[in-house]
Subunit: 562 residues, 2 copies
């Protein structure tokens, strides 16, 4: 039976040609899942006991092993994803840099947020005990590989790096869109584990349909947390599974986002063209396959010819610019997007979904199509998803498929936008929608119907911000990151990054999946009361042998407790 | 109809006499819930814009207003809870201290975990942007008052104090067991808000059945998080409601816990009597109505007469102590518990549940009852719960009820314990169960069947810990706090406290509901990329006007960014 064959063996598919890529990878069955989780659970005691420097050595060994894969990784990954050797090499660089960043973090050690309150035996009415706390690992973590980042958010990506850094075994459910890449990177991680003398259960990769293998992992009692990057439907399905467990666990799902970009009146009047050109590059970057792709452009039209522009702080000197500035902006955006030409998406399923959404936008009431109307249908299915938690798999696309799509640009009025739930949906791909707003109130109305996002961007000049400061305070409530006079694509990997946001951008607005803060998703506080020094973790001992920053009796210090 | 009357008006009941206490408090209807949430949402913009010092002044004003309630608070609270004036005055002290602790925390301001990574415009291949992040408030929070802490975990308790400190409006669902106390404290908080010029929506108290009013609040789209202290059933019901929302929100539920206490062989052989006496006090404190009440005592019997003691590190010199030491320990524990005499529980419903559980333990296979077998049945219902998310309300108990119960002590072998799921359930009240263990393996087996707990306690001497260090590493994986040679009751309110633990102790093992760390439940990271100085929150501005500790380009510092 063909259905069983598909489930039993996972093959990559070349998105440029539709041809099946060998070799196939066996899908895990229930017994294999049980065995892997048992191995992870068994390894936890030993892995959690490793020191920060031990884990740093492991993470650095993973980075080196990935680099040692050399061109084979680039070749296999490009065949599976069509992302191109330059982008893949760059993503490999980001991946190994992330691993080394977490290595530095845990080697330094202060991330455990150690707090020490020493005893006051003479306190009245009750003596105060000695209490010390730090963050500790939680246990085996499942990570779902992402289709759109086959390296940086997949087998040895940010979720895996942060979970391992915190001291947890990791099992990765490889994405069906790039099984060969996943297997190669998985081999590198396992080689690093062996090199560092760690138990085999500290890391594993499994292949198989998300709806079977992924679900089994998320429901398994031995698993303590889940990392996921993908579609809203897939993320929510995992959240619901995890919440229904006898022992619920967190799912750190980073899901869809339309990333509103707001252009204020002075900016559009004075440098609308430059903004349009930069924006076109951001929309089309990587064929629009970034979580931070700007899919919604809220243009506050300059006052003047447009009688509708009544609010906000329209700068002087723009009289007569009116809606003409917006028209020029849209026109330049369309031309620059068109000039990028068609691109090959990650797989036929994603391309098909993109084309379906573009067609729905184009035929929606009140929507003007500026480019992309003639986009070719890449396939028949309309319900496919860019991740593989569902039953629709990239690998299921027939060999006659292809995944080439053109960019698309639409515009609409604010009034129509706020009444059209379809237009607030994410179009995963190189498409964006301009909404003509009269003032800050229109922008706020639009933001209120789109829910949480990973990012929001404001383009404005000093003349704009003098009058739109309140809008910044509104915008920051809806996202994890606010960008000024830039573009949301390109997520810096650093301590201050928040890559997360209010639902549905993330399952939990309290966390980031990029940057050092990502480690906090996989550690929990443990306190020790009147614990003998010899039984305390090194981070909490009086001598502070790790030399970490601690809060001792309320004060930050690296000094020993005396 | 009597059912409707009960739902429409909430009355306290004197647990000593069963008599209804006036006045009654009107239960909120759906329109009232909507109006309160709308008011909270509307107040958020103004409240989130307050500075740390502003919020500190508010929290201190609440503390002073509570103190200004004077003896009336003690009298009303004692009538509703029977906790006694001494305990209530002490809990009031803890409550105002908590408020002032959070005031100090937000006035100082470093809790926002500010991180600044400055720009590197010349970085190759891509310039590095300026990124800054800090923790920001989330929006309106619902807090459920707890039956067992009518002040410290209710209207102005730790959940409310930490949510307000973080900058969020709070709506409290008053516990049906102490509506008069809740109304008084609510009045104090609202007076403080008015005194500080804050909008009315920043705080509200509502009365009504948890299954109606509480559920409506948790499901309301305007609510962003929930704090709860109560039973496992009640907490899980709220978790399930919150997870099923269109926009899921976190429920920080602190639920039941049996708090295992482990006595190691040298300790029991040499100071078993003293441990038994201290333990009796901890079990019976406050009629056993603490989340940290030690309900499971795992005694590792000294080697010697007991041929079963084969593992662990039994200290020399104990030969012959054998099971005799355990028998002496149990005997002294029983006598000391009996000497405490019966106590009045918080309400008839809780007392009834306690007596039902004691009866089930007493008749369970292999269980020996040492005291408490003749405990009187306090009422008929067996399905009642110590919180009021369900339909069973303290206020529904008839005027003929009473809530006086005796302590209860049981013992059982490790083999029977691990095969009896009933014995791993929490008995909320002055009861405990001794399990006779031969070695560390027995202890680990017992821990593996009880799930997560708030605390675990080890009683041991140096001779014990030399051989049981591995057991400490096992124990710490199952709890939020490990106590050495003490008792779990008495939760210090300080930066290093973890009051939380793996499910079912808490909904989320990643958080504490006591101590300064509790504020982290109600704040989320927000990043600003290339943000003009004038639009940044004070905490992230170059000048560091708040003088807080920040991580600037990876280094901890209070210095300005230059």
């Amino acid at each position: 039976m063909s259905t069983n064959q598909r489930t039993d063996t996972i093959y990559g598919v070349n998105p440029k040609t539709g041809e099946r890529l060998d070799p196939g990878f066996p899908a895990a069955d229930a017994a294999r899942v049980d065995a892997l989780v048992a191995d992870a659970v068994a390894s936890f005691a030993r892995y959690r006991a490793t020191s920060g420097p031990d884990r740093a050595a492991f993470l650095r060994a993973i980075a080196s092993q990935i680099e040692a894969l050399g061109d084979e990784l680039i070749t296999v990954c490009d065949a599976e994803t069509a992302l191109g050797p330059v982008r893949i090499a760059s993503e490999r660089g980001r991946t190994v840099n992330q691993l080394r960043m977490f290595a530095d973090l845990v080697e330094e050690g202060s991330w455990v947020d150690a707090r020490i309150d020493t005893a006051m035996p003479d306190r009245s009415p009750l003596p105060k005990p000695d209490i010390r706390r730090m963050l500790a690992p939680i246990g085996p973590v499942v990570v779902f590989g992402a289709s759109n980042f086959p390296l940086a958010f997949s087998v040895a990506g940010g979720d895996t790096a942060s979970a391992l850094a915190a001291g947890n075994p990791v099992i990765v459910k490889a994405h069906g869109s790039h099984p060969g890449t996943s297997a190669l990177v998985g081999k590198a991680v396992s080689a690093a584990a062996q090199q560092c003398g760690l138990p085999t259960g500290v890391f594993a990769v499994v292949h198989g349909p998300g709806s079977v293998v992924g679900s089994a992992l998320v429901k398994h009692p031995g698993i303590r947390a889940v990392g996921f990057t993908g579609s809203r439907g897939g993320g929510r399905a995992l959240m619901d599974l995890a919440a229904a467990r006898e022992t619920p666990i967190p799912v750190y799902a980073e899901m869809g986002s339309i990333n509103p970009l707001i252009v204020l009146p002075h900016a559009i009047a004075h440098r609308g063209t430059a903004i349009a050109e930069g924006l076109a590059g951001s929309v089309c970057l990587g064929v629009g396959q970034f979580c931070t792709n700007p899919g919604l452009i809220l243009v506050v039209e300059p006052a003047g010819g447009d009688a509708g522009a009544v609010g906000g702080a329209n700068a002087g000197g723009d009289a007569g610019a009116g809606a003409g500035a917006t028209a020029a902006f849209v026109s330049r955006l369309a031309a620059t997007m068109e000039a990028q030409g068609p691109g090959v998406m990650l797989n036929r399923s994603i391309a098909s979904t993109y084309c379906g959404m573009v067609a729905r936008f184009a035929s929606a009431h009140g929507v003007v199509t500026h480019t992309g109307a003639g986009s070719q249908e890449a396939g028949g299915g309309a319900s496919s998803q860019p991740d593989d938690t569902g039953t629709t798999q990239a690998a299921e696309a027939g060999p006659d498929g292809h995944a080439t799509v053109p960019p698309a640009l639409f515009s609409v009025s604010a009034d129509v936008f706020v009444q059209s739930p379809l237009l607030a949906e994410e179009v995963f791909g190189p498409a964006t929608l301009v909404v003509r707003c009269a003032d800050a109130t229109d922008v706020t109305r639009c933001l209120s119907v789109i829910g949480g996002n990973l990012t929001a961007t404001l383009h404005g000049d000093d003349e704009d911000f003098a009058g739109y400061a309140d809008l910044v305070r509104v915008v920051e409530q809806t996202v994890g990151r606010v960008i000024f006079n830039g573009f949301p694509t390109g997520v810096e990997v650093c301590p201050s990054m928040t890559h997360g946001g209010p639902y549905p951008a993330s399952a939990s607005e309290f966390h980031t999946s990029v940057g050092t803060g990502a480690i906090l998703r996989f550690a929990r506080p443990v306190s020790y009361q009147n614990c003998p020094q010899s039984l305390l973790p090194a981070e909490l001992q009086n001598a502070n042998p790790r030399g970490i920053m601690r809060i001792v009796n309320g004060a930050y210090t690296r000094d020993p407790v005396v």
